[in-house]
């Protein structure tokens, strides 16, 4: 018997063509109806069809390139746009789960998420640059240390080692004030002057913050477990 109402599943090629038209209409503000695009994403994300991913990449790569170029922090990276375009698609691929995809009701939300992927790969890149976290202000101390040939350097631990280090250090901080100063100085990279300016009612003066730092560093320097950890993981560097 012939089925009078066969379920027709469009081919990937057909879907990709329809999606191209829908995308064009969407970005021309003509319509938000993009059922074929959603179906394409559905196949890529939920049923993990590699060809569907390829079609998505092909469809949206020019748009994602434009977004990368317009990101406020892109120029600070010094990288090519292509580099972030590929990373953004990779991020989309790894970050968007079928459950998350199920929350998107239209193509606008999917595009917003793809924009988020562009943003997060650029920010991750900038976060990973060690120079962001270190550096003197331009002042006398820097000049004198350079003149005397005194080099300041520190080994970067891997993520697991960093977590292990923090697990040890946090048990050595003796009270909330020490914890607060430590967090502000080393996790947020705030100068004592900035801390005092922002939390003036918590400290007698800025010297109190320096004394707390001094105590913390001296305690960590004397700590056998920390020294053992550093010898094992960070060579000659300490505290």
């Amino acid at each position: 018997m012939i089925n009078a109402n066969p379920v027709i599943t469009p081919s990937l090629q057909t879907l990709a063509q329809q999606c191209a038209q829908e995308t064009q209409r969407f970005f021309q503000h003509q319509t938000g109806d993009a059922r074929s695009c959603l179906e394409l994403f559905q196949r890529a994300i939920v049923t993990k069809q590699e060809k569907a991913w390829e079609a998505i990449y092909q469809q949206y790569e020019p748009q994602v390139t434009k977004w990368v170029l317009r990101h406020p922090s892109f120029s600070a990276t010094g990288e090519s746009a292509d580099y972030f375009v590929n990373l953004a698609f990779l991020r989309l691929w790894t970050a968007i789960t079928p459950a998350k995809f199920a929350e998107f009701s239209d193509i606008r939300e999917v595009m917003r998420y793809l924009q988020l992927c562009v943003h997060s790969v650029i920010i991750d890149y900038l976060r990973a640059r060690p120079s962001v976290a270190i550096g003197f202000e331009d002042h006398e101390a820097q000049r004198i240390l350079a003149e005397k040939g005194i080099r300041i350097d520190a080994k970067v631990l891997n993520k697991v080692q960093q977590e292990e280090l923090w697990e040890i250090i946090k048990t050595r901080l003796q009270n909330e004030k020490e914890r607060f100063v430590f967090d502000c100085c080393y996790k947020l990279d705030m100068k004592p002057g900035e801390i005092f300016q922002q939390y003036r009612d918590r400290f007698k003066d800025v010297r109190e913050i320096y004394r707390i730092k001094e105590n913390i560093l001296a305690r960590l320097r004397r700590d056998k477990e920390i020294q053992t950890f550093l010898q094992k993981n960070a060579g000659k560097h300490r505290p």
């Binding site: 998350k100 006398e140 101390a141 350097d153 607060f180 967090d183 004592p192 560097h237």
Partner: protein
């Protein structure tokens, strides 16, 4: 060479010198012993900073999913507390907002209803556990800042509102209100208003990143309204 100019500065004073305080600069610049201690302190500080910098911060992607409200509620609450204290994450959220504005997507399909909708903001529960659960920045911050001027976080459907009240440094005895609105693609379309009963006391714009502030406020109760065409977020009996 050991300086004979003055006694050796303490480590605290050497740390201050590294941050630009030149009180003991003359001594330090000519004292080999002090310079050696400075090098040790600098290495220690750098080691800690480079390895623990932003250790408590959510990833850029998690922050973005927080903004798009794609995370479970407990995670949204924890990140909201973190963001209220972390200048770096606040900055990244501002950058994300700037990016979303620059690459604005076509508006969602218009709905037929055009009436002004009022949604009430409610205070979230005790969310001081902080991002990553196991301590990190927030508990210390919360304890240090005290209950009184701790940021309060409110929720109104898809919106989240962080309110912080401080003494107004420019107007002794008066209060300053600082806030952040999350969950809106175009926060600048909102205006903040403070009411007492039927009287509008003051109003101010919300910037493109969702920040707003009102200073020189008498320490009383107010009804706060965030208003844009078709929507009003209301927070009643806000105590300054």
């Amino acid at each position: 060479m050991t300086s004979t100019l003055s006694p050796h500065p303490s480590d605290a004073e050497l740390l201050a010198w590294l941050n630009g305080d030149n009180t003991h600069g003359e001594h330090i610049a000519h004292c080999r012993e002090c310079l050696t201690r400075v090098q040790t302190l600098s290495n220690e500080e750098q080691f800690l900073r480079i390895n623990l910098y932003r250790a408590d911060c959510p990833s850029a992607h998690e922050l973005g999913e927080y903004k798009l409200r794609l995370l479970p509620q407990f995670q949204i609450n924890a990140i909201a507390v973190h963001v209220a204290h972390c200048p770096h994450c606040s900055q990244e959220l501002a950058t994300l907002q700037e990016f979303f504005t620059a690459v604005a997507l076509p508006a969602a399909q218009p709905t037929i209803a055009k009436q002004i909708r009022v949604i009430m903001a409610t205070l979230l529960g005790d969310i001081r556990a902080g991002w990553q659960g196991t301590g990190g920045l927030q508990p210390a911050m919360a304890a240090m800042r005290g209950e009184q001027n701790k940021p309060r976080i409110y929720e109104a459907e898809d919106y989240q509102l962080t309110i912080e009240i401080q003494e107004d440094p420019e107007n002794p005895g008066r209060q300053a209100l600082f806030g952040l609105l999350i969950g809106e693609d175009a926060p600048a379309s909102f205006e903040i208003q403070l009411w007492q009963g039927a009287n509008l006391i003051t109003q101010a714009p919300v910037d493109e990143y969702g920040n707003f502030s009102i200073t020189n406020l008498v320490k009383e109760n107010y009804d706060l309204k965030l208003i844009k065409p078709e929507l009003e977020i209301r927070l009643e009996a806000l105590q300054l």
